[in-house]
Symmetry: C2
Subunit: 188 residues, 2 copies
């Protein structure tokens, strides 16, 4: 059983998630993690097992933080469309590192079945959230019924990932703004 | 100046591109490249400079092969919609490794300006191709004019990347089929 941790776990995971977000899994060494956290190797191994353990906990940390952001957008939005606009605009304005979970998918999903399942589960949760938003928009007459709310939800999650990739290869802000508008215009 | 190469460059790049496609850049070692090509290190260094050199040539090789596939879809398709369907269906049926260029974007674009420019240039070319297809569909009355052909082209390229990421985290074939249908339905 691990000894009592003498550090702030939240703070440590924040630093590790930032590092993995910037460099990816394979380019990040244990020494990088030691340097970024100012913890020694044995503390890290005691608490997380190995590099993959730190990575998986960092993914969960990032996912929880992202969910909190999304929830705050929902609370602040007056309409289903403006909720979606907030989520998608956030995606194109979060810097050049893209989304840690999309980056993880392309780097790891084909090599690590456990991580793939984690990502699929995260996708299911995001789709459930999108389905609720689209259903509201369909019921209040803002959105069309050409596709079911579930079909639109799958579409929105996939499109969001595409937009994160696109925003990593171009700095053309007006192009990204227009891309978000086009993507959401399918709904109305 | 490099000595005359005593190997089939096309065949070697095919093997290297397959390896990078499966493992990514950072997880692939020079030893992996030696093992997969059956060439010694000095031959590889003479011809490509370093690991990044092999990677960049592999990206170009993959891009050219992908362009050839896309061109053959265009020749075989009777309508703009069926051309797009072929391209998108190919994307969800090409295996669990996703797209080498999308994977490259999420792993490398934020760390390597030269590779980022290569990917952006590739994106521009794909968008040009999509713009031509959409323009034809708009002129023949199959596609709507709610957005310009250029806007739809940006959307299609980004959506295609999203679909490649999505197809890495789920094996649900009917969900992916439905995703392609929804994505293209914006056009008609």
């Amino acid at each position: 059983m691990p000894k009592t941790e003498l550090f702030n776990r939240e703070e440590i995971l924040h630093k590790c998630a930032d590092l993995f977000h910037r460099k990816g899994y394979n380019a990040t060494s244990m020494q990088d993690l030691v340097d970024t956290t100012n913890l020694n190797r044995s503390s890290l191994y005691n608490s997380f097992g190995n590099k993959r353990g730190i990575y998986v906990e960092s993914l969960k940390f990032y996912k929880d933080k992202s969910s909190q952001s999304v929830q705050s957008f929902l609370l602040d939005s007056k309409t289903p469309l403006s909720a979606l606009e907030s989520i998608f605009n956030y995606a194109i304005n979060s810097g050049k590192n893209g989304c840690l979970l999309s980056n993880c998918a392309t780097e790891m999903a084909n090599m690590d079945e456990g991580i793939k399942r984690f990502l699929e589960h995260n996708g299911d949760q995001m789709e459930e959230l999108f389905e609720n938003i689209v259903t509201k928009g369909q019921l209040n007459g803002n959105f069309n019924y050409k596709r079911t709310a579930k079909e639109y939800a799958t579409y929105l999650f996939s499109a969001l990932q595409g937009i994160r990739v696109t925003s990593m290869i171009t700095d053309n802000k007006s192009k990204l703004d227009s891309l978000v508008k086009t993507t959401l215009s399918i709904l109305y």
